[in-house]
């Protein structure tokens, strides 16, 4: 049958990529956020994650709209500005068996949401937290955000005179266990990082530079496509081999830093710099990022990973079943319990 369309490629749970798609985007054409949504779709599809086992969380802003544009078969919660971490925490406490992906922006995270963001990191809450980072507030027409680099310029000529908050350095210091930076235009790196993120147990914090084509893609911006193409400095080459993948490439020893993820997959970080970069060394990771900021370098790649640290769910010692689905027999104590309390109060 020469005229029949070829059968769509299915992932290892038997779903075509179509089942990972979302609604039509309403963001600007060329917005970096759309590329990130595409990579999330690819990563979830390739990892064979069941869409119904995913919770999509977000705050407020252009970035936070994007969960509507991927994975319509997953429950989603678009909450209030800067408060996605607390809503996610509650949702994960109610059902810790889900894969949770949160999409935030630089304003939503580094300004209004800073208080909740740092506590999410501190708890090592098991979720993927993506900052779609463009350095400006889009929906309110282009004010600087707190991740805008010092000296960068708005279209109107206004120069930013405050230093940027480095969300990656912060995340490493405060307890996230998988921290990296990528660029919406680097398909390969971002996809590998997202796949590894899905395999990780703990807080994954990915700062993805995602240019705003409308308000921050001009000369003088440090978050434009051009600037990133010229200045993106990968610290390592990220390669992810899922537990069900066949291993294709063997690296020479010493060339690659290999991390075994808790689901049996492998994260391979190929060295790109002269000095050895050890992504399990927390203080070195923070130092490297601080030096890069001082040198006006935009480092990307996986900066830090720790597969051993207990998550917040581990610390709470929760039962395996989701708390939200426990039957009354397990949640309401029996009458004898009330009787004993009443007796003790007489």
């Amino acid at each position: 049958m020469a005229t029949a369309a070829p059968a769509p490629k299915l992932n290892h749970i038997g779903l075509p990529v179509l089942e990972y798609r979302g609604g039509k985007t309403t963001l600007c054409a060329g917005c970096g956020h759309n590329a990130i949504s595409e990579r999330i779709i690819d990563a979830m599809f390739q990892m064979g994650v069941e869409p119904e086992r995913v919770m999509k969380m977000s705050g407020i802003g252009c970035s936070s709209k994007s969960p509507a544009y991927f994975m319509s078969r997953s429950h989603s919660f678009n909450s209030v500005h800067g408060r996605m971490p607390s809503v996610s925490t509650g949702a994960i406490l109610a059902n810790h068996t889900m894969t949770t992906i949160g999409v935030s922006g630089d304003g939503d995270t580094a300004s209004i949401g800073m208080g909740q963001f740092v506590h999410l990191l501190r708890r090592n809450l098991p979720m993927i937290y993506i900052i779609e980072d463009n350095g400006v507030y889009g929906l309110t027409k282009g004010q600087f955000s707190a991740t805008a680099d010092i000296g960068s310029k708005l279209k109107t000529g206004v120069v930013n005179d405050l230093p940027a908050i480095d969300t990656c350095a912060l995340a490493i210091q405060l307890g996230a266990t998988f921290v990296g930076r990528s660029f919406s235009g680097d398909k390969k790196q971002l996809l590998s990082m997202l796949k590894a993120a899905i395999a990780h147990k703990g807080t994954v914090m990915l700062d993805v530079i995602s240019p705003c084509v409308t308000f921050n893609d001009h000369e003088g911006s440090t978050k434009s496509y051009k600037f990133m193409q010229d200045n993106d400095e990968p610290i390592n080459e990220v390669d992810f081999v899922a537990s069900f993948d066949e291993i294709e490439v063997d690296y020479e020893s010493g060339e690659v830093f290999e991390v075994e993820m808790h689901d049996g997959s492998n994260l391979r970080l190929r060295k790109l710099r002269e000095e050895d970069y050890d992504p399990t060394n927390k203080s070195n990771a923070v130092r490297t990022l601080m030096e890069a900021q001082a040198n006006e370098e935009i480092l990307t790649g996986v900066f830090y990973i720790n597969t051993q640290k207990p998550t917040f769910i581990d610390l709470l010692n929760l039962v395996d079943r989701p708390l939200g689905q426990l039957p009354e027999s397990l949640t309401r104590p029996p009458k004898s319990a009330l009787d004993s309390l009443m007796a003790s109060l007489q």
Partner: protein, 633 residues
């Protein structure tokens, strides 16, 4: 003062029982916070309770850790009155800083039991003084200097027990319960009680009329505080996620909840069927509650005024996105930080309408310990049934003071988890609209994340949405959603706890109130009957939105006195929004907002003044004068 002196002389005159005041007075223990007097006061309270005498205990404490004055009042009342009384007849003066002021505040004929070296006799000559060398006695029985501060409190318990005729065996029993399983601690404390008791017995001749005598009015009753009762309610509601931020006076709600969860909700293999998270602030606490409620957990937080203010934005999200959650607000005195350790009812309006836009909330208003427990669990059923945040509005007086109560009854109905679609339901239906009013009650069906069906997912948002949860800015979609929410709220009038009424069918004037005002009003009703010969009806509201009975009650009276503990007549204002214009004019206000719990005298005085009542005694005097006049002529 004159009457007091007479009473004092009577008693000093010999063994006459004339003027004896039995089981009807208050004790005021004036100490310093951080001195560990709490357990001693609790033993004293429970000893009177153990004597079968109705009792209540109120802690008047500063917002401070140590060193500032604290007063704990115990009211013994044979008639079962447990509201605050303006005056306490018996003073236990331990705090040198306030001793003079405390002594001067005693009514004539009162009693001062005090640390000997305070020399309080210089201030009054119409009070019975019992100086006790507390420090000396303590030093003699407690060799460990570090413990003396605590043990000293038990010495006054012993002296007071002797002077008021409280059975030492009952005190012993109370102590045993308090220090269950800690024999050494018990021995030390009971030794102190006995030393105080022996000293008083050997030293004093009773000069005052106050006695505790055995009654049988506390059998089968419990003593508890409202926060513990609310926490117990939450645990028997099967709460699974608790997120909170510490704030007085609500902290002990979560402490009580956590203790019980650890006790009753750990599986045999040591795993928790609950999560308690101390959040970074109240914004995060309510965010976690809503996230958990959305994902299917029974979730709660507890807070007070400042926390309620911070929760405003999320409260609107919960209302508009229709997410269950329970928020306990233990009210304290505002505005702003206000008086953090004093009671109030001034959060009513801000809670009922918490958040911007057209937002309104279900607010449960417990007035008794039993209701703290029952509303504590009913709130979870209502939140999941109606799919909305439900507030339980308590206050510091209910929450942190010690109340006598009937025992709590085990819930008689299974948990109501509301409208949740399962995979089988979705198979049968093919699809669903999250905000579609398929049952005509304004409440849609929801699905929980993790429901393994390709039609289960929907998009939850605080932005405008249509009945399929799709983003929409269309006027007709917005109006439809808002009207459905209003319908849902209107229906809630019949689902929330209805009011309680004390009615005689004759009274044209009536009281209307909620929460902890109850005790002072009911005592006040008896006083009005005694002093003015008038019976007054009373209705206690137990939830917002208001039930129809509240409208009927106002309609059936000419003058309705809305009694509440705030400056701005918030309950009356809320009623005015609800009642027809013809009824609004009937509302009068009795307002009490000095931070102290409401007392009966305030209710009576305000009512009598506004009603223009003349006391029965005055009427009788008038009567006599008229009669004499007649004879003279």
């Amino acid at each position: 003062m004159a009457t007091g002196q007479v009473a004092l002389k009577d008693v000093q005159g010999g063994n006459s029982t004339r003027g004896r005041v039995v089981n009807d007075f208050s004790i005021n223990v004036a100490t310093v916070n951080g001195s560990g007097s709490q357990s001693a006061n609790s033993v004293l309270l429970k000893s009177i309770f153990g004597m079968g005498v109705p009792v209540s205990g109120k802690n008047l404490f500063p917002s401070n850790i140590a060193g500032l004055p604290t007063w704990y009042t115990i009211r013994a009342s044979k008639d079962g009155y447990v509201a605050r009384k303006r005056e306490a007849e018996v003073l236990i003066a331990i705090n040198p800083e306030t001793a003079k002021q405390d002594t001067l505040a005693l009514p004539a004929g009162g009693v001062a039991i005090y640390e000997e070296n305070l020399n309080l006799k210089q201030y009054r000559d119409d009070v019975a003084f019992y100086p006790v060398p507390l420090d000396k006695i303590t030093a003699s029985i407690c060799p460990e200097p570090k413990l003396r501060k605590l043990v000293k409190n038990m010495v006054y318990v012993g002296a007071v027990a002797q002077l008021l005729n409280i059975d030492l065996g009952v005190v012993e029993q109370g102590l045993r319960k308090q220090f269950a399983k800690k024999q050494k601690v018990f021995d030390l404390n009971f030794g102190a009680v006995k030393a105080g008791h022996d000293y008083a017995a050997a030293t004093f001749i009773k000069q005052d009329p106050y006695y505790i005598e055995r009654m049988d009015k506390t059998a089968g009753k419990i003593i508890i505080d409202g926060n513990a009762a609310c926490g117990m309610g939450a645990v028997f509601a099967g709460v699974t996620v608790v997120a909170w931020y510490p704030i007085t006076p609500s902290t002990s709600v979560v402490e009580a909840t956590t203790d019980l969860l650890k006790k009753f909700r750990v599986t045999p293999d040591g795993k928790a069927t609950f999560a308690v998270v101390q959040a970074e602030d109240e914004l995060a606490a309510i965010g976690m509650v809503l996230g958990a409620g959305w994902a299917g957990a029974r979730s709660m937080t507890a807070t007070s005024g400042p926390g309620i203010s911070l929760m405003a934005e999320f409260a609107g999200l919960g209302y508009y996105a229709e997410i269950p959650g329970v928020i306990f607000d233990v009210q304290r005195t505002g505005p702003s930080t206000g008086l953090p350790t004093r009671t109030s009812q001034a959060d009513l309006l801000s809670t009922a309408f918490l958040s911007h836009g057209d937002t309104k909330h279900i607010v449960l208003l417990p007035g008794t310990m039993r209701e703290c427990f029952e509303f504590g669990y009913a709130a979870f059923d209502l939140a999941e049934r109606i799919q909305t945040p439900v507030f339980v509005l308590s206050d510091l007086d209910l929450g942190m003071n010690n109340w006598m109560s009937e025992q709590f009854n085990y819930p008689d109905k299974p948990l109501d988890r509301g409208k949740v679609l399962s995979v089988e339901d979705l198979d049968r239906l093919g699809s669903f609209g999250r905000y579609k009013d398929v049952d005509g009650d304004g409440i849609g069906w929801r699905t929980l994340p993790g429901t393994r069906h390709n039609k289960a997912a929907y998009f939850t948002r605080g932005t405008g949405h249509n009945e399929n949860a799709i983003y929409s800015e269309k006027p007709e979609d917005y109006i439809a959603g808002m009207e459905r929410l209003a319908r849902k709220f209107e229906n809630a009038r019949k689902q929330v706890p209805g009011p309680l009424t004390w009615k005689n069918g004759k009274s044209k004037a009536a009281f209307l109130a909620y929460g902890s005002s109850d005790y002072a009003i009911r005592e006040g009703m008896d006083l009005i009957q005694k002093e003015y010969g008038q019976e007054v009806d009373y209705m206690r509201i137990r939830a917002y939105p208001f039930a129809q009975e509240i409208h009927d009650y106002v309609a059936s009276h000419e003058r309705v006195y809305v009694v509440e503990q705030d400056r701005d007549a918030q309950l009356a204002s809320l009623l005015k929004l609800d009642l027809p214009a013809s009824q609004v004019v009937k509302l009068r206000n009795i307002l009490h907002y000095n931070g102290l719990p409401l007392d009966a005298q305030t209710v009576v005085e305000e009512f009598a003044a506004q009603e223009g009542l003349t006391s029965v005694a005055a009427l009788q005097v008038e009567d006599v004068e008229v009669h004499e006049g007649a004879v003279a002529s």
